[in-house]
């Protein structure tokens, strides 16, 4: 019997069955991969493990003891620590207080800040993470916040550690730090569950794996020796995907998007580039390179202090999102929870929020049939797993929310330029493939596409051209043919760090 056993777990929500009769075990001193399409039930399983949900059927057995958690506190008590897919931090509190949330040390009834600070510094150092314990979380980048979340779980010294897509916002280097941590913890005999849609991470870290599909277990791999990537994909999505990127060359037209001398917050020197009709330009950089900030300036989400943006030769009004949209420029933000979804509204609402202005009756009445149709098309096309289009979007799994937000922009009919920031964050392989296909189709229709991504294979696999940013400036530009991993990475690393780091970079298989 394994250290941690899930036995016949089932869980239903109103209108949705998330898990049915799932059993598997996780050994101490091993990393167990959990795979499955978006909405397969992985996070739900983790929330059951974390005491957040009570299963309808089945039970947990830890170290031979059956356990029934009634709350998150129960699970913590039992030695379970979870890194949630949706980051759960308190923005107004410091790194230290977030790390020690619920267990600050006290002296004579008062919080012992000094001891807490010392402890935090020391432990962070030991983990090889460089964060100021006094910085407030809201001052950190997403990647840094995710790092804090990881440390928060790790520092609990739990016996069981579950990581639900921990790398979705991490750069290579932070990922390295994380992997080192996981290996250390394995050596210490912890039982770990690792969820990711990045298969190379699974191969690199995991000893065993379980695959979910539609809330059921479809495969168990006690070892990953000799298992191929294709096998996993096949079991996950139920079909063959030979080349996930499936790049298709296409003809390119004239310059559609012309960015000239754009300056603003987080931009170190004026930024300029062109994108042609039908071209896909990948923007690569490490966390904090300033890509997202640049794109927000171009779109008008933040006000720029200088420069122009033109589409098909027509200059857009500065800092005006609506004029950008009317000009055919759309931006899909990277932080889906903060900037993307409108949680309490339905999937259909979220998909139609922008495009519906084109289908108004009498200038103000929404066209409900049209909206329903649009929603259904995307739900089917991108396989958005939801009981129906009326479901509140916050109840969808992370990946499915991402797909719905993407649909919002794909539904625009006079799309000319699409800026898409981390489009496949948290998305399963099958759907990734589908999204790339949609991007190609759009490009074939003549749309100019800017894709910001921190996944190097994706940038290399999908783009016609790659632009690299570092420290708020453009540091390199490559054609598809020129772009190699080493060349691109070298430009993405800050000067100085470049040489030291080039060797330690993980090699990633596409």
């Amino acid at each position: 019997m394994s250290f941690l056993e899930f036995q016949g777990i089932g869980k239903a929500f109103p209108g949705v069955r998330a898990l049915s009769d799932v059993s598997f075990g996780v050994d101490a001193g091993s990393v167990h991969g959990l795979l499955g399409e978006n909405g397969a039930g992985k996070s739900t399983m983790m929330k059951i493990l974390g005491g957040e949900y009570v299963p309808n059927e089945g039970r947990l057995v830890i170290d031979g003891q059956p356990r029934a958690f009634r709350s998150a506190a129960d699970a913590i008590e039992a030695g379970v620590a979870i890194i949630h897919q949706e980051l759960q931090y308190v923005p107004e509190l410091s790194v230290m207080e977030n790390l020690l949330l619920g267990r600050l040390p006290t002296r004579l009834g008062l919080v012992d800040r000094r001891r807490a600070l010392d402890w935090t510094r020391q432990r962070l150092n030991a983990l090889g993470v460089d964060l100021d314990p006094r910085a407030k979380l809201k001052q950190l980048s997403i990647g840094q916040r995710q790092m804090v979340e990881i440390c928060k779980a790790v520092l609990r010294d739990a016996k069981i550690l579950a990581l639900d897509e921990p790398t979705s916002s991490l750069s290579h280097r932070e990922t390295d730090v994380l992997f080192r941590l996981v290996r250390d913890l394995k050596a210490q005999g912890k039982a770990m569950i690792y969820i990711s849609h990045r298969l190379d991470e699974i191969f690199e870290l995991c000893d065993a794996a379980t695959i979910f599909r539609d809330g059921r277990k479809v495969a168990d791999f006690p070892t990953l020796e000799g298992i191929t990537r294709d096998t996993l994909v096949q079991r996950m999505v139920g079909r063959e995907i030979s080349d996930i990127f499936g790049y298709r060359p296409r003809v390119q037209g004239d310059v559609r998007l012309a960015v000239r001398d754009v300056t603003g917050h987080a931009v170190a020197e004026p930024i300029g580039f062109d994108v042609r009709a039908g071209e896909i330009v990948g923007f690569f950089g490490l966390v904090g390179a300033g890509r997202s900030e640049t794109m927000r300036l171009i779109y008008g989400a933040d006000s720029r202090s200088g420069g122009t943006v033109a589409i098909d030769g027509k200059t857009l009004r500065s800092s005006d999102i609506r004029s950008a949209i009317r000009g055919g420029l759309m931006y899909c933000p990277e932080d889906r929870k903060e900037d993307g979804i409108i949680g309490v509204r339905s999937v259909a609402e979220n998909i139609n929020i922008s495009a519906r202005r084109n289908h108004l009756r009498a200038g103000m009445f929404v066209n409900e049939t049209n909206e329903a149709r649009t929603a259904d098309i995307f739900i089917e096309r991108l396989r958005i797993r939801t009981p129906n289009r009326r479901q509140e979007i916050r109840l969808l799994s992370g990946g499915n929310q991402q797909k719905a937000v993407l649909s919002r922009w794909l539904a625009e009919k006079d799309l000319r330029v699409l800026i898409i920031d981390e489009p496949t964050r948290g998305i399963d392989v099958g759907a990734k493939n589908e999204i790339y296909n949609v991007l190609y189709e759009l490009a074939e229709r003549g749309v100019a596409i800017v894709m910001v991504s921190s996944e190097l294979p994706e940038v290399l696999g999908v783009s016609d051209r790659v632009i690299v940013m570092c420290g708020g400036r453009i540091t390199g530009e490559f054609t598809r043919e020129q772009a190699s991993e080493e060349a691109v990475l070298a430009r993405a690393l800050p000067e100085g760090a470049a040489r030291a780091d080039a060797n330690t970079t993980r090699t990633v298989s596409p």
Partner: protein
């Protein structure tokens, strides 16, 4: 774009038609729980309280909630967009006073009404502009305008009720159409109008989107500031309308009218399921919220309940109503 060969990947909720029917039933109960509560309340009161179920009484009840009802419609928008408006009570008073003053000065009731409506819209515009553009907290902003506008009402009337000379003015509040008083018709019209606006128009949908997540709405191209200002402007105008009708019913504009009005309106909305966190609202909920509040008060008067005990009853009923409504959420979560 319609490569829909691949079968819908998901087989959701396998369940038999039986569980489906049960789910549908619960969905119905969920959606209409408050309405059901109200119907039950109404039925019980009809059977137990003498005179409650009579045409006269029902009309009186409708009249008593007509002002609150009107403003609740627009307050619903305000709350749905995650805002808050405490200034409506003062606006009701000021509009009544202003309408009376201008009517007397010009001899024209129409001019008086126009002036009051415009003043109301202006107050709303100021609220909206300060909140949306200067990004000041809505509670503080409207608390400030609540004070300022109340001050204007007292100053312009010198603290005295302003009677209206022109008798035509009184007919707004007292004339009867098809058996119902005019104010009730106006309120019904508001419910229909704002119901349609909320559910069928881009204005309503944008309001809900803004309330759900203002940042996301802005990035999706919703003109957040403009919509918020519009919401407050309309709210101001409707509060002024309520003030005019109230003045007409009372045959004078009173500077201390509408005190505590804002809390009643907001409670009715919240009771009707409008979320203070924004993004969620239903017009039928608000209607029922308004009706429950009015009905309880009405029944207490009919039952001759002691003034002090009325406080207890009001508070308790309020709690019970939300509690029962809450049960559905409990069933839903976990």
């Amino acid at each position: 774009m319609t490569d829909s060969k691949t079968a819908p990947a998901l087989d959701l909720a396998p369940g038999s038609s039986n569980t489906e029917r049960r789910a549908a039933f619960w969905r119905f109960v969920d959606d209409y729980s408050l309405i059901l509560i109200f119907i039950a309340l109404f039925a019980v009161l009809s059977c137990t309280v003498e005179y409650f179920f009579s045409w006269d009484n029902v009309v009186g009840l409708a009249l008593s909630v007509s002002q609150i009802g009107m403003v609740a419609c627009t307050m619903m928008f305000c709350l749905a967009s995650r805002d808050f408006d405490l200034s409506v009570g003062s606006t009701v008073a000021f509009a009544g006073v202003l309408c009376a003053i201008v009517s007397n000065a010009t001899g024209s009731v129409t001019l008086g009404i126009a002036a009051a409506l415009m003043a109301g819209a202006a107050i709303g515009f100021v609220n909206g502009a300060v909140i949306a553009k200067l990004k000041i907290n809505a509670l503080i902003t409207t608390l400030a305008t609540m004070e300022i506008v109340r001050g204007l009402a007292f100053i312009s009337s010198q603290g005295q009720a302003v009677g209206v000379a022109n008798e035509a003015f009184f007919s707004i509040g007292s004339s009867i159409l098809f058996g119902l008083p005019a104010p009730v018709w106006v309120t019904l019209a508001c419910f229909v109008l704002f119901g349609v606006l909320l559910n069928k128009t881009i204005y309503g949908r944008n309001t809900l989107a803004i309330g759900g997540n203002p940042d996301a709405a802005r990035l999706a191209g919703v003109s957040v500031d403009r919509t918020r200002i519009l919401i407050f402007l309309v709210q101001g105008a409707v509060a002024a309308l309520a003030g005019i009708i109230l003045a007409s019913r009372m045959t004078s504009g009173q500077p201390n009218a509408g005190e505590g009005f804002e809390l009643n309106v907001i409670s009715a909305c919240v009771l009707g399921g409008v979320s203070l966190m924004g993004g969620r609202a239903s017009i039928s909920g608000v209607l029922v919220g308004v009706l429950i509040m009015g009905t309880v008060q009405n029944a207490m008067s009919l039952m001759n309940i002691d003034a002090f005990y009325q406080y207890l009853v009001r508070g308790t009923i309020l709690l019970i109503a939300v509690l029962v409504d809450q049960l559905k959420n409990r069933r839903q979560s976990r």
